[in-house]
Symmetry: C2
Subunit: 272 residues, 2 copies
């Protein structure tokens, strides 16, 4: 038995889908078939969506579940006539907020991202450029402009985390891959010496590292379990010796790692 | 007059913040000071948060506004005692969902991202690797593995959009920068000939392009307004001649571009 679930929005549907998935995750025993429908911004599209919902509802023999964020009430009304439970983000919370602020909201489409000023948008793009240019230990001279430098062995999760920090938060994140020659002595790699306060270590379970490397490349030495154990041990020793705060990436998503890095470094994303 | 606004979660607070910002965007006349507090997952942290809220509320002379997503009711209870309007994502919608499914939810922390199976998580990481390797027209031989190839002049938004598609959706997005030599004749660049069905053009207002390029590099020729106009005109002609669907990036966020690309290509993110 599966429930048809729809994420519907007159904008990108990214927020709607994120919220919906969070909530559905609280019901791990149930199964869902999910349909994401962004840019439902005309009566015609709303009507087609209404028909699709009813069709799937019948096909599955299950009332559909709809997460929506439609700022135009007349479009929401069309969707609402479907045979489904509709949870609309705007309806419930906007009403509460309107009461709190003693004013009506604009009900304007596409405002979702507007609190992010153009300035901060440009900052995100510049941060992405920065992360691309200083990925994987290249362009060490850029380190002085970095907000944070992630340090870890190959395939410990540095690159995607840097890119997420840049794209989502406009943080200039560089990364430095620890390689065999860094482990020849016990001191901090030369390139990092001037930037100790920017460093965050990423560590990982050696078994998981082995699995990732094996999938990634065919050379046996790279994925060798003994090498993985040794590299991780050296890395952890380095972090400890130089008081580099570190995060275990084994069971953490990019999103969680990024949020923890921000918390660790105390980046002011917001105003005061 | 500013309202202190808190985004509080026992997990990353990313969802909470996204939803809260969408809702606040509907009140463009008001001003907010925002505080994001992730990982509030112990009674002690909840207590400290409660005190911070009251302190800010007093400092601003304004009742605080709280967007929260706390799956542990006892922590939510502590926050709730603050002098504030609390909009909790879980409270309202989980109650509705529990009724709909005729079962209680797990109220377990960190489930937010779990609907994303490890398999799809690995797919996202692989897609990021792919986008990094095939950025900016490098590694053209990878094009056959690409889900989509973004085509556009320099600084039209290709790279951040590719990375967002990879990070957020696990889509293998390559990009091909149109340069002067591509405009020497009117045919499709050789590297793209075999992949017409994967192409999406990015276009941009020449004035905006000039502004971006000027900020980015100091060489005058690169940002020359006449060159910007010419390149964009050539690019648009190419898109038209070869029926390449195109998106104007001038006033669109990376998020919106990505959602529109997915809609255009009809990628099945979901099941059926």
């Amino acid at each position: 038995m599966k429930y048809p679930v729809f994420f519907i929005s007159d904008s990108t549907a990214i927020t709607t889908e994120t919220v919906g998935l969070s909530l559905l995750a609280q019901f791990p025993g149930l199964e869902f078939n999910k349909y994401t429908l962004p840019f439902i911004d005309t009566p015609l599209k709303a009507q087609q969506t209404y028909e699709l919902i009813n069709q799937k509802s019948e096909q599955y023999g299950q009332k559909a579940l709809i997460f929506s964020s439609m700022v135009q009430p007349e479009l929401c009304q069309i969707i609402r006539q479907a045979d489904a439970l509709v949870l609309d983000l705007f309806e419930h919370y906007l009403t509460e907020l309107e009461q709190f602020f003693h004013q009506t909201s604009t009900h304007a489409i596409g405002l979702a991202r507007k609190p992010m000023a153009e300035e901060s948008y440009n900052q995100r793009i510049a941060a992405v450029d920065f992360s691309m240019l200083s990925d994987d230990g290249t362009n060490l001279k850029h380190y002085k402009k970095a907000d944070v430098i992630l340090v870890g062995v190959s395939r410990s999760g540095k690159t995607p985390t840097c890119l997420y920090l840049a794209l989502q938060y406009g943080i200039r994140a560089a990364n430095y891959p620890l390689v065999a020659e860094d482990f020849l002595d016990t001191s901090l790699p030369h390139a990092l010496k001037d930037y100790q306060d920017k460093l965050i270590g990423l560590t990982i379970d050696p078994g998981r590292l082995h699995a990732i490397r094996k999938e990634r490349r065919s050379t046996r030495a790279y994925a060798d379990p003994a090498l993985c154990r040794q590299e991780v041990r050296y890395a952890n020793q380095l972090f400890q010796r130089y008081n580099i705060p570190s995060l275990d990436t084994t069971h953490r998503s990019i999103e969680e790692l990024s949020a923890r890095i921000i918390a660790l470094k105390g980046f002011k994303q917001n105003n005061d």
